[in-house]
């Protein structure tokens, strides 16, 4: 596979919630190693878009192809795609009844078939990577929000996915904790991880993204390199949105 191989292809993807069309024939390609940041007003379909990639939402029409596998309802395609795609949630979604280390080793042990020692070693490796190896034996509720989100990132990494999806990873955090999570994400990006990040952290987008996507009303309104779209937004909607974010 070449360095610029396409990892995710979305063609004319549509998604409905009853009568409401959340995605309107959206097409997006993500190459290996690419860092895509998606922004847009609430209800614009940005979360829905990335949730379709690992089938937390099922799309009604169009194609989603992840690493050569077309996403359908068959258990095989789900298994292959979810094995390749990790996800970090706005609300962390850690397992509250398990310690940090157990949160991290569960997937590797049960899904990847690692032994307890292997899973533990892997978990510690990624806990060090998110800089909280000393919290391994605590329960999620004993950690700060920022620490919990870093555990969630480590939990995804333990499955060694090829793509990481971030669904507003800092939106539920207090301001002083946003930086520590973004720092981990920046480090991940630098290591070559393919990432799709839904966020309003425009500073992070400028620093890290090499593709910027602006969505509104279920459509991709603007797409391009951050240096271009930030300095000269082509659409009025994106210009207005940027202004609102920056002014606030």
């Amino acid at each position: 596979m070449t360095a610029d191989a396409t990892l995710i292809e979305m063609h004319n993807v549509s998604k409905y919630f009853d009568d409401f069309q959340a995605l309107k024939e959206v097409s997006l390609d993500v190459a290996l190693g690419e860092r895509v940041v998606i922004c847009g007003p609430s209800g614009s379909g940005k979360s829905t878009l990335i949730r379709c990639i690992n089938r937390l939402e099922a799309h009604e029409s169009g194609d989603i192809i992840v690493d050569g596998v077309t996403l359908t309802d068959t258990p095989e395609s789900l298994e292959q795609i979810r094995g390749n795609v990790g996800m970090v949630f706005q609300q962390f979604n850690l397992f509250p009844h398990l310690t940090v280390i157990d949160n991290l080793t569960l997937g590797p042990r049960r899904v990847l078939g690692l032994s307890d020692e292997e899973a533990k070693a892997r978990a510690m490796k990624y806990l060090e990577r998110v800089q909280i190896p000393d919290q391994a034996d605590k329960f999620p509720r004993q950690l700060s929000g920022g620490q919990q989100q870093r555990v969630a990132i480590a939990r995804s990494l333990c499955m060694e996915p090829r793509i990481l999806l971030f669904d507003e990873p800092t939106s539920a955090l207090d301001p002083e904790m946003i930086a520590e999570v973004l720092e981990v994400m920046t480090e991940l990006a630098a290591s070559g991880m393919t990432m799709i990040v839904v966020t309003h952290e425009m500073g992070f987008a400028r620093r890290v993204a090499n593709k910027m996507v602006f969505m509104d009303k279920g459509e991709i309104v603007e797409i391009g390199a951050p240096e271009d779209v930030f300095t000269a937004p082509k659409s009025k909607r994106f210009a207005t949105f940027l202004q609102q974010i920056i002014n606030h």
């Binding site: 509250p96 009844h97 997937g107 499955m159």
Partner: protein, 245 residues
């Protein structure tokens, strides 16, 4: 708890209200009274054994019935609803009589008194357990399922490692309730001749003609059993909650 225990001696004060009490039948200082008491207390063995066996079965059956009730498919949910509605609407005593006297005619399988009692209690309780489990499982947020899916856990592992451990913590008070209920309902099995607490009391009344004292002791026997169960459930709750917010 302490306050309830203080109330117990008050019951005995009732004995001073009129001259009709005759505690001698259960007076532990006399030979006859002591042997009567031993006879009554010996019923606890089957009351406990039957209730605990029945609750173990009903928890498992209840869970198995709850799971299809959580399905998105209407057919699965229909199985759950049918079972719950039918079983829940049969009175325990009726179910017991049906299992003990009716089932042998239908199937040729004759159950002894103990297993007929356990079956009727377990069956009846399983419908309630199913509803308790369904409620508990439904109270777990969607995010937990999504997180489990995002690390590729299958349905079985998701239930076993993520959903059920959390659901069981939440439904523990309700499960405790069911165990208390079961202990009390096991008294019904006395009608088919099970030698449990109530049956023993009945038999003693027939020979001693002192229903007031004997049934008062019977009330206290159930009270003590159930206070012990309550304390146990609370201890379990505290222990489990110490590991989760």
């Amino acid at each position: 708890m302490k306050r309830i225990l203080i109330l117990i001696p008050l019951l005995f004060l009732l004995s001073g209200c009129s001259g009709n009490w005759g505690w001698y039948v259960v007076d532990p200082t006399t030979t006859n009274g002591a042997s009567n008491l031993r006879f009554m207390i010996s019923g606890a063995y089957y009351t406990i054994l039957m209730s605990v066996t029945a609750i173990c079965i009903s928890v498992v059956v209840g869970l198995l019935i709850a799971l299809p009730g959580l399905s998105k498919k209407r057919g699965w949910r229909a199985i759950n609803r049918t079972y719950v509605e039918i079983v829940r609407s049969v009175p325990i005593l009726v179910l017991l009589l049906w299992v003990y006297y009716g089932l042998p005619q239908l199937s040729g399988i004759t159950l002894n008194v103990f297993w007929a009692g356990v079956l009727a209690l377990a069956l009846s309780d399983s419908a309630f357990q199913a509803e308790i489990f369904r409620g508990g499982i439904q109270s777990i947020g969607k995010g937990q399922y999504e997180a489990a899916q995002s690390i590729s856990l299958n349905y079985r592992d998701t239930m076993r490692y993520i959903i059920l451990p959390q659901a069981i913590r939440r439904i523990l008070p309700a499960l405790g309730n069911q165990l208390v209920y079961m202990l009390k309902m096991s008294s019904l099995v006395s009608v088919i001749g099970m030698q449990e607490l109530t049956r023993k009391a009945n038999e003693l009344v027939v020979t001693e003609y002192r229903p007031l004292e004997i049934y008062t002791i019977l009330v206290l026997e159930y009270l003590v059993l159930i206070l012990i169960v309550s304390a146990g459930v609370r201890w379990l709750e505290r222990r489990m909650n110490s590991s989760e917010a």
